[in-house]
Symmetry: C2
Subunit: 352 residues, 2 copies
C-alpha cells in the first residue's frame, strides 16, 4: 500500500513526538511492505510566525492531496496574547471545520504498570478502558451569532439532526465492536439541543439492538468518570461537553502522555494527534513522551487505511515496552527506567 | 433575632435531611436566643402531583415573605418522563430565576476521617478546601432563542457585563476572606462570551490587588480538579461550566453527602440546599446523610443572616462528630460507626 501523509509537526514538543511517530511508521512500512510519503506543512504558532496565519493555504492544499494528517501539537506562550484569529488553536479549529472532521475519538486506557502515577486510587483506575466520541465541528464552538462588545456577549449552540446522527452512528458502531455499551451524555433536562440529541440517539439505537445504551446528564457524567470510570465503554457527546469530559477522562489513569486521538471525516479521512499539548517548558530537551503520537499513528493505520494488523503491532509493541518497565520523564520516581524521547522510540521500533 | 424561613423539603430524602437541618437550627435558636419561624411550601415532584406545577404560586409568595429558603432536593423516577415544563428540576430553575439567585456557592472540603472513601489517592485529596462560585441565572440555560424541532435545535449563551460582574465581584470578595487565590474558568480561546468574561475579571481584579488571580481554560480546569485539587482556593465560572465542574469537584473528596450549597441574590437573600440529590432509592429509610443539609443551614446563618458565631458552631459540631468516628450509611466498611439520619442529627444537636 502506498500512502501520502501530511505531517504538521506544529509547536513545542509537537515536533519531537511527530518525528517519533514517523520513525515507527517507517518501520511498519518496511515490515509490512507499505510506502509512506511524508509532506511537511505548517500549522499553529510556527505557521503564524512564517506566514501570518495559523493554517496557511499551502497547508490546506497539502492536506487535500494527502490520505491522512499526522499532527503534533500547537501553541505556546509566545502567541498567547495574540488576537483570536492569530492564535495557534485557531488553526486546529479551522482544519477541523475545513475537512469536516466531525468525529473525534479519544480512547483512555489504564496501563497497569503506571497506575502509581494516577491521581485515582489504583483499584478505581485499574480497569479503565473507554473511548469518548466527541462531536467536533458543531455546537457552541461554531454557531452564529457569536460576538461580544464591551457590554454584551453571545454564542450560539446549533445542531442539526444530520450533525448529531453521523457522530451517534459512529459511536454505536464502535460500541458494537467493543463491549456493547454506550453512554450518551447530554443536558436534556435543560437544553433544547440536548433534547434533539436524545431523540436522535433513541432513533439510531433502534438499529443497534445489540448495544446497551443509556443517557447520562453531563454533570452526573463528570462525577461518574471519577467515581466509577471503569463502568464506561463508549461515551458519545456534543462538542463542548466532549471537550471537557475527554480532558477530565484523560488524567484519571495518570497516563496523559500516552493518549492518542483521531478526528475523522465520515469517509475515513482523518487527522491524528496526541492528546497532550505542546508543552513549551520541556520542548527541545528530548524528554517528551512519544507514545501518544505513536499510538495516534496506530489509529491512523486502523481508521484511515484499514491496516488492522499493523495497528495492532504498534499497540502491542508499546504495551510490551511499558510492561518491561520503561517510561519517560513524567513518570520518574516510580522505580521504572526513564528513557529519552528517542530512546523510547528506538525501543518500540526494535520491538517491531 | 427573629427570622422567617421558607422550608421546601421537596422529594425523596429531601424531606428527611431538611427535618434534620431544622432540628439543628432550632437548637441554635435556643442556645443563641433567636427565633426561627418555619413556613412549609411545595416544590418539585410533590408540587407537580398536588398542584400541577413544579413551583406553585403559593410557594413563590411564601418565599417572598421569608428571609431565606431552605430546600431539600427535588426529583425522582416518577416524573422522569414528564414534558420539561412539568419536571421537578424546572422548579429549581424557576426559583433561581424568579429570585435572581445569581451567585451559587459550592464549598468542597476534605474530611480527613473520610478520605478512605475518596476515589482519589489520599495524598491528592487530603488538603482540598475550595469554593466554586457559579453564575446561576444567565448563560446557556436561560438565553433565547432556545427551541428544537425534529431537524434542528438552538440554545443561546448570553451574558451581559452586569451579570458577569456581580458574580465575579462576589468571588473576589470571597477570595479576599480566604487564602487570596482566585481561578476564573472560561473558554476564551473559543467563545466570545468567555472573552467578555475575561475582560470583566481583569477589570474587577484591579480593585482587588490583594487577590492573586489566574485564568484557566475549562478543559484544563477539569483536569486540574483531579490532578491538583488542593491548589484551588476560589473558582469562579459561568453557569454551565460551573454546573459541570462543581459536580466534578463534589466527588473528589468522597464526601458528596456532606456538601452544602448556597444560591444568593446580591442583597444576601438566598436559597440553601445540600448538593446531593433526592436519592429515591434510599428515601424514607432514615439512612440518608443529613450533614449536607445541616451545613447548608450554617451557610444560611452566615450569608443571609450574618450570624457568624452560630454558623461556626454548627460547622465545629459537625467536624467534631465526624472526627469522633461517626458517619452515615454511605461510609460503611471503613471501620466507623454508622448512624441513622436521626441519630446523626441528634449527635450534632447534643454537641451544640
Ligand atoms: C484548543 C481548543 C480549541 C481545542 C478545543 O476545545 O476543541 C482543544 O481544547 C481540544 O480539545 O482539542
Ligand atoms: C437540575 C439542574 C437543572 C441543575 C442545574 O444544572 O443547574 C442541577 O444540575 C444543579 O447543578 O443544581
Amino acid at each position: 500500500m502506498k500512502k501520502q501523509i501530511a505531517v504538521l509537526r506544529g509547536d513545542g514538543i509537537g515536533k519531537e513526538v511527530t518525528d517519533a511517530a514517523i520513525a515507527v511508521l517507517e518501520t511498519i512500512g518496511r515490515r509490512f511492505d507499505h510506502e509512506f510519503e511524508w509532506k511537511h506543512g505548517l500549522i499553529g504558532g510556527g505557521a503564524i510566525d512564517e506566514t501570518g496565519q495559523p493554517l496557511p493555504d499551502e497547508t490546506i492544499q497539502l492536506c487535500e492531496q494527502s490520505d491522512a494528517i499526522l499532527l503534533g501539537a500547537v501553541g505556546g506562550p509566545k502567541w498567547d496574547q495574540n488576537p483570536s484569529h492569530l492564535r495557534p488553536e485557531k488553526g486546529l479549529l479551522q482544519i477541523r471545520k475545513h475537512f469536516e472532521l466531525s468525529v473525534n475519538l479519544r480512547p483512555v486506557k489504564a496501563y497497569q504498570s503506571l497506575l502509581a502515577v494516577s491521581p485515582l486510587k489504583e483499584d478505581v483506575a485499574k480497569d479503565v478502558d473507554m473511548v469518548i466520541v466527541r462531536e467536533l465541528t458543531g455546537g457552541l464552538y461554531f454557531g452564529e451569532p457569536s460576538h461580544h462588545d464591551d457590554k454584551n456577549a453571545v454564542d450560539t449552540l446549533l445542531y442539526s439532526r444530520e450533525e448529531i446522527e453521523r457522530v451517534v452512528v459512529h459511536a454505536f458502531e464502535l460500541a458494537k465492536q467493543r463491549r456493547g455499551k454506550l453512554n450518551s451524555v447530554d443536558k436534556a433536562n435543560v437544553l433544547e439541543s440536548s433534547k434533539l440529541w436524545r431523540k436522535v440517539v433513541e432513533d439510531v439505537a433502534k438499529r443497534y439492538p445489540e448495544v446497551e445504551y443509556e443517557h447520562t446528564i453531563v454533570d452526573a457524567a463528570a462525577m461518574k468518570l471519577i467515581t466509577y470510570p471503569s463502568t464506561f465503554d463508549v461515551i458519545v457527546t456534543e462538542n463542548m461537553f466532549g471537550d471537557i469530559l475527554s480532558d477530565e477522562a484523560s488524567v484519571i489513569t495518570g497516563s496523559l502522555g500516552m493518549l492518542p486521538s483521531a478526528s475523522l471525516r465520515v469517509d475515513g479521512f482523518g487527522l491524528y494527534e496526541p492528546v497532550h499539548g505542546s508543552a513549551p517548558d520541556i520542548a527541545g530537551q528530548n524528554i517528551a513522551n512519544p507514545v501518544g503520537a505513536i499510538l495516534s499513528a496506530a489509529m491512523m493505520l486502523r481508521s484511515s487505511f484499514g491496516l488492522f494488523e499493523e495497528a495492532d503491532a504498534i499497540e502491542a509493541a508499546v504495551q510490551k515496552i511499558l510492561e518491561a518497565g520503561y517510561c519517560t520523564s513524567e513518570f520518574k520516581n516510580i522505580g521504572r527506567e526513564v528513557l529519552s524521547t528517542t530512546d523510547m522510540t528506538e525501543k518500540i521500533v526494535n520491538e517491531l
